[in-house]
Symmetry: D4
Subunit: 204 residues, 8 copies
Amino acid sequence: MGFDEVVYGATKSVTLLLELLQDYSEKGQNVLVTKLQEAKAKILLKTYETSFYDVESGIFMLSHITEVDAKARVGIISAGSSDIGVANEALYTLAYMGVSAHVIHDVGVAGLHRLLDKLEELRAFDILIVVAGFEGALPTVIGGLLPQPIIAVPTSTGYGTAKNGETALYAMLTSCANGIVVVNVDNGYGAAMSAVRILNLKKQ
Amino acid sequence: MGFDEVVYGATKSVTLLLELLQDYSEKGQNVLVTKLQEAKAKILLKTYETSFYDVESGIFMLSHITEVDAKARVGIISAGSSDIGVANEALYTLAYMGVSAHVIHDVGVAGLHRLLDKLEELRAFDILIVVAGFEGALPTVIGGLLPQPIIAVPTSTGYGTAKNGETALYAMLTSCANGIVVVNVDNGYGAAMSAVRILNLKKQ
Amino acid sequence: MGFDEVVYGATKSVTLLLELLQDYSEKGQNVLVTKLQEAKAKILLKTYETSFYDVESGIFMLSHITEVDAKARVGIISAGSSDIGVANEALYTLAYMGVSAHVIHDVGVAGLHRLLDKLEELRAFDILIVVAGFEGALPTVIGGLLPQPIIAVPTSTGYGTAKNGETALYAMLTSCANGIVVVNVDNGYGAAMSAVRILNLKKQ
Amino acid sequence: MGFDEVVYGATKSVTLLLELLQDYSEKGQNVLVTKLQEAKAKILLKTYETSFYDVESGIFMLSHITEVDAKARVGIISAGSSDIGVANEALYTLAYMGVSAHVIHDVGVAGLHRLLDKLEELRAFDILIVVAGFEGALPTVIGGLLPQPIIAVPTSTGYGTAKNGETALYAMLTSCANGIVVVNVDNGYGAAMSAVRILNLKKQ
Amino acid sequence: MGFDEVVYGATKSVTLLLELLQDYSEKGQNVLVTKLQEAKAKILLKTYETSFYDVESGIFMLSHITEVDAKARVGIISAGSSDIGVANEALYTLAYMGVSAHVIHDVGVAGLHRLLDKLEELRAFDILIVVAGFEGALPTVIGGLLPQPIIAVPTSTGYGTAKNGETALYAMLTSCANGIVVVNVDNGYGAAMSAVRILNLKKQ
Amino acid sequence: MGFDEVVYGATKSVTLLLELLQDYSEKGQNVLVTKLQEAKAKILLKTYETSFYDVESGIFMLSHITEVDAKARVGIISAGSSDIGVANEALYTLAYMGVSAHVIHDVGVAGLHRLLDKLEELRAFDILIVVAGFEGALPTVIGGLLPQPIIAVPTSTGYGTAKNGETALYAMLTSCANGIVVVNVDNGYGAAMSAVRILNLKKQ
Amino acid sequence: MGFDEVVYGATKSVTLLLELLQDYSEKGQNVLVTKLQEAKAKILLKTYETSFYDVESGIFMLSHITEVDAKARVGIISAGSSDIGVANEALYTLAYMGVSAHVIHDVGVAGLHRLLDKLEELRAFDILIVVAGFEGALPTVIGGLLPQPIIAVPTSTGYGTAKNGETALYAMLTSCANGIVVVNVDNGYGAAMSAVRILNLKKQ
Amino acid sequence: MGFDEVVYGATKSVTLLLELLQDYSEKGQNVLVTKLQEAKAKILLKTYETSFYDVESGIFMLSHITEVDAKARVGIISAGSSDIGVANEALYTLAYMGVSAHVIHDVGVAGLHRLLDKLEELRAFDILIVVAGFEGALPTVIGGLLPQPIIAVPTSTGYGTAKNGETALYAMLTSCANGIVVVNVDNGYGAAMSAVRILNLKKQ
């Protein structure tokens, strides 16, 4: 399905990662590594000079993707500036899959007018990925206002009753807005891949 | 503090309740019974013909309160029609304490425009009690729009990840809106009593 | 967005439901009621003779939908025969929205060959809704084999560590397969509505 | 509503914080940063010499507030000396909002007489913010003795069954005292902001 | 150890219970059955006319114990009238073991003065069993005031965040008062048996 | 009650601790500090040369207690060698309170014969404090064999389903042995204090 | 694998069950139905006169199995008489699979000597299935004394902290005895099937 | 039972470990230490030059086992390369017990064909130990395809809803495949020891 060249970086040693990258490099293939810690990334970046790393999201690729669709088809909306890592994980995964996306930062529910001002801009996207921590209300509000597919991504931002993202996760699953779908906490990668599945459908 | 004449009805037997009511009745006092089941209420209503019972909230009083402040000072906003019982528990408790309130039903977050249309009406209240089940986003949205004291009441409405009100409770406690306070799940009574504490303050 | 004529039936009284239905009936509109208990449905069915009720899913409509797209565009796959209610909730919601779907029953992971035999049949659908209780492994296995959008619906089938669907929910969210999205436990309605959002996209 | 100039510092990088502060500084505005770690604060303090930082609470402001109401209107009561950080977060937030408050330390429930000795002092405040970890019994005891608005703040002090503040949180929400309201674990900031909402009401 | 003639009644069929009782009856022994439902108790009471049953606690004995120590050595304090069943379970278990006890009802924390008025009465007991639901603060307050062994019994009284007694249980285990010990939720029987262990020690 | 001179060390700064110790030192009083981290202890030990610190339990005292009752009255039984810290916390707290105790290590349930061999030795103590992590079965087995007061202390030893001591805690509270009482996870101090309450009783 | 003719009865309607049974009956095959409620079983028993139903376990078979191995190869040990249903589920499942087993009732940990008396009897079985509710300590004790494969089955017996079998489940998984394996709460059927897998191995 | 020479290394100090090892060394016995951290292992390796340590699993032995059964009797299947530590813990424990095993890496459910290709290889083992993190679906799939005893080991691999292995644990316990047994999270050691119990049985 073209989904295979992805490596979960968080629990792999540098030694193992270097082995894997050499394979891809020799075959002339790109590869996407997710949730890679900065210390490990620095070593990989030294070995592969043309490789790319985003410190906020922990995304690493053997070669950066710059050529994507001219038109941004996926809107990635983040509730707060602390959610940038997860938003970027979705952004770069989409780029890796050849899909153009655009990130709109800091459109929280508590400042509703900022959100309402952006409504027409949001309406132009094929798919909306909505990233939020704390109480996770943003996908519910957007879902009540716009008709596109909405993929909600809870983040582990917050403290106490935020419960490392579990509160946002449950709030999104329990949303009173229609037809919101949800992925794992902090899983920007998964949100992007489900957007790819949907866009594949449109291509048919 | 004038808070004492309140009886938690859910786990008391009819025999015990009749004993307690006789005491109050003989002293010529009114009394508020909360969370009283319908079957038990029917027996009490037969014994005390001028007493009052609201089946939605399970509120029972020896004599109904009709004379309250002329102006409704507390706005009780409910997210869905399933939350009526909890909204009524707040309404009748406030009446019992001599405070006039007004309930505004079915102003959910998924239909945001209905809420925005009512904004000026809501702005006129001294205090807002916001009742919501499912993902519990309503107090966050209102808290971002209006400056009054906001008492959020999560309800056990919903299924699955609603977790009997725990998701709404946590979402309200984790709200990214400023200065929202929260009471126990389905605790319309507690919300009303905290409104009374605040209004006492204003009287000074 | 055309999503409004839906009523959550589980916690509404017959009196309230009859009031609501009369409104729709007078306006000549159809309406979808979800999670309606059988005893309440029987009363509604008597009042509205041409109405429709499915006892497995608790779905009620003022008038049954029979004219949908000629070609089934959504495949609804259920892991066990105990999941039929949730599968039907998705099926009838899609019908109500004018989308043709087909249910494929009893394709559990423990009998893998039955699933592999159906692979080509499944490949023909635009979207797959995968319904499973117990350990919830079915969306993961299908997600590794097929490229379409996959909407996973955990069900509360099972006992003990099934934890009323929470285990299936978490397993689906944690899936090692790419791009699976998830809705609330037993939420066949939500899965259908998210499929509608995706199909709207394709129409553009 | 005047609530906007507040920045959640815990998950923001120094680079981002410096950017934000420059904006406020250039506009001649003060700003409140919450839950800021010491290492990051030290860098900000160097850049803005007249700024203020409290290490216990992690509160940072561009310029310290010293001019507040002559009379302390909010009493902040802490159960143990480990709760000082949360008490200070409330104290400095109130100062930032122009409200005078007074902290009363170490009035735990296990030493009841110390509490009873302070009863008249507590009665003089308009609002009581009660901060407690461990079993969180303090707001219940005070709520039974005094009639003011009581905002309970659970803290993450304790070990084992203290469950990082969840036990205190639940105990406060379940309080058998009337009309106690609750905010998130360790959320001194939120308690202060809800006090501001209440005091705004009194001003009317 | 003399602890054996006790039968957990809740999950045993009447047939099995009758078999067991016949054994004890034939041997001329008394027996204690705990948590016995009323419907089952009625059948047993018919068969054994001199037997005893307390409907509040579900305690059943083949013959009632009336001769105990002249002086009540254990004080059983209950926070609310809903806790009477658990208090009685402790009372009758102690009677069965030959220990005299006295129940003091409705001494909740929210009405602190009622508790302070009873302090000298409580000081006279060898051991205090403190029964409380909701937020479970009573053992903490008593533990700070009195030096005896204190056995805390959480009850499942309350709703929402009371979590069927878990909140009271955790609050008691996390108590900031010294040397409180705790038994299972609603376990009046266990509290009584641990009091028996302690009194055995004193006898030595 | 003589319980006051105890300081919870884990969340207090060295500065605050030094202040507190100076007070006690000047008054010629001893003091017990619990759960004190090694780094902080080293600084205190330098200041107070005759003070005492046990690294396993984190117990610190201004002066070591060596004169206690000639006869060990409390038996402290630990299930594994990883539980030594909690056992020592009980031991030194008892010493501080003037009570002699004896620790018996490594008497786990999996090696039952080692336990049975020690039965007579255990029978000689007035009170048994039983410390166990993992599945926490030891108090149940001992409670079935011996008639003394048994204070069970769950520890956070173990991994995965040990859940930081919660499994042992619940197992002890649910014990099928009669009259076991329980304290917080890792709370050797609390177990000792409850033993002191019981021994006070015997003295009368 | 010969595992297929098993039907989970709890969530299937009588209509569906009758359909399924007719299929098996016509093919002359036996079938095992698990967790079948008594009311539904009575209807099936009327239709199939030679069928078998055990009310304790809810096991139903089209024809009772009486011919099994002469020698009991699996010992099923239950901790209390409330665990009989789960023990029987294992017993009849084994019979259905052609394996002889023997149930030994009421060998709890609190009465250790009864267990030690049976040790040689237990040593004679190839496999031990150990069924226990409450604190679930029995498999740990047996696992420390005997070398056979031990399959632990937690049951939902108990109240409060028994948490519907979760405490026993976690205690068994965390057992300090070596090589204990565990199945779902109340899953006597699963324990039997895993015993069958092991005995198949021995046959080779 | 030959199970005793095993030491849980994670919570023991180097000093204590060296003491224990000297005992075994002097007696000429080997010993197995589990979950030993690398820093502590390095010190032990220096002292005992012929000892063995595997950094992935944290297994340490005084002398490496190389002579085992000629034929691998246990197949250890791991779902992903992050599960290698747990797989190795099982492998080396089996070696220590004299049992030959073989590890098959990276046979995840998302890539089903890799698994199906290995089916005949897997069929040759007496026992299968199946190690998986994330959603833990692998034992269910294998259990539906192969008839051997299957010991499932959940691992703590994954993030968010993986919940440190709890999701995989629950999914395995709730498996719809027949006769799967489960051990604690990350407990490769326990899986190996239960395999030893089963193989002992075959020897008879």
